[in-house]
């Protein structure tokens, strides 16, 4: 199953996404892909807060700041690992992966690394394809993104390009994933549900339209 979790800042979306990924994994391998590059005290504080939340939930953390399709390149081959959740058809165990979060990943791809100046659409397309490639190694993929689109400000071109890219990426992922959930003040509001969601006991329909 693929799930997109969105929400505003400090909405509790990380904690929700973590708990959801834990449920999906059903005791099988569980990876957390951290995209936030440590830079200064505030980031350290956020990172340690997130790390505390993940403690004892069984996540193995992988730091990957860009080129997300390679994030699982150095993990054990799923076919050789052992576990209780045999989701793949051949009986091997592919991991449940939580990717957090797209806003950092996009910023890293845009502002650091290569000096390549990609158009917002090309950049979003590339990251989308890389996420799809990542997904091929996952039994479940939960992706955390961010709502940054509603402050009414007009920003310099570079920031506007970033907003465009993230919005585009969110819409592509919204179409591609099985379930889309917005977390509002720690409460999950389902925007898109799948039949698969019901199988995991998460099928309560909250949409009013």
């Amino acid at each position: 199953m693929r799930c997109l979790v969105t929400g505003g800042s400090a909405s509790g979306k990380s904690e929700y996404a973590e708990n959801f990924a834990v449920e999906l994994s059903r005791g099988g391998p569980l990876y957390y892909i951290a995209t936030m590059e440590p830079y200064g005290e505030e980031a350290d504080r956020r990172i340690s807060r997130h790390r505390r939340l993940r403690e004892a939930k069984g996540f193995q953390t992988i730091e990957c700041y860009r080129d997300i399709h390679q994030a699982l390149a150095f993990t054990p081959d799923p076919a050789r690992s052992t576990g209780s959740a045999a989701d793949a058809e051949d009986g091997s165990v592919a991991p449940t992966v939580l990717l957090e979060c797209l806003s950092n990943l996009l910023a890293n791809e845009m502002y650091a690394g290569s000096a390549l100046k990609e158009e917002p659409e090309a950049l979003a397309q590339r990251i989308f394809r890389q996420i799809q490639e990542l997904d091929q190694r996952c039994s479940h993929l939960v992706i955390v993104t961010n709502e940054i689109f509603s402050d009414g400000h007009r920003y310099p071109p570079e920031t506007e390009a970033y907003i465009q890219s993230l919005g585009l990426l969110n819409t592509m992922l919204g179409a591609w994933t099985d379930q889309v959930c917005e977390v509002v003040c720690s409460i999950p509001v389902l925007l898109k549900t799948a039949a698969a969601a019901a199988a995991f006991g998460k099928g309560e329909e909250r949409c009013q339209f």
Partner: protein
């Protein structure tokens, strides 16, 4: 406690007055309460817990402030963070949570 949230100018106050009736103890613009607490060096979550222990039936109205680009100014970032975390706490404690968009309330808890 009943919690009502939503963006600026979404008709929250009018909605709440209609939904809660005349006698309710309403605190609106709770984000400004949080802003003041931060400036006075208080912990907004602790203040909220104290408020709820004193007034368990209070009605809180608060703007949603976390739907924009991360602000450059640290004070603004801290404000958004504090409002977000405090409202998570409030929503967990609330009997009902209603989100108001275009004057329409959607009950999410």
């Amino acid at each position: 406690m009943h919690l009502y949230i939503g963006g600026k100018a979404q008709g929250k106050r009018a909605y709440v007055e209609m939904a809660e009736g005349g006698g309710a103890d309403i605190i609106s613009d709770y984000q400004e309460v949080i802003r003041r607490q931060l400036r006075q060096g208080q912990d907004p979550i602790e203040c909220l817990r104290k408020l709820l222990s004193e007034k368990p039936d209070v009605v809180i109205i608060c703007d949603e402030v976390g739907y924009g680009v991360v602000p450059i100014e640290k004070e603004e970032r801290d404000f958004r963070e504090a409002v977000g975390r405090t409202m998570c706490e409030a929503a967990q404690a609330a009997r009902t949570v209603v989100r108001i968009v275009c004057g329409i309330g959607q009950r999410i808890k």
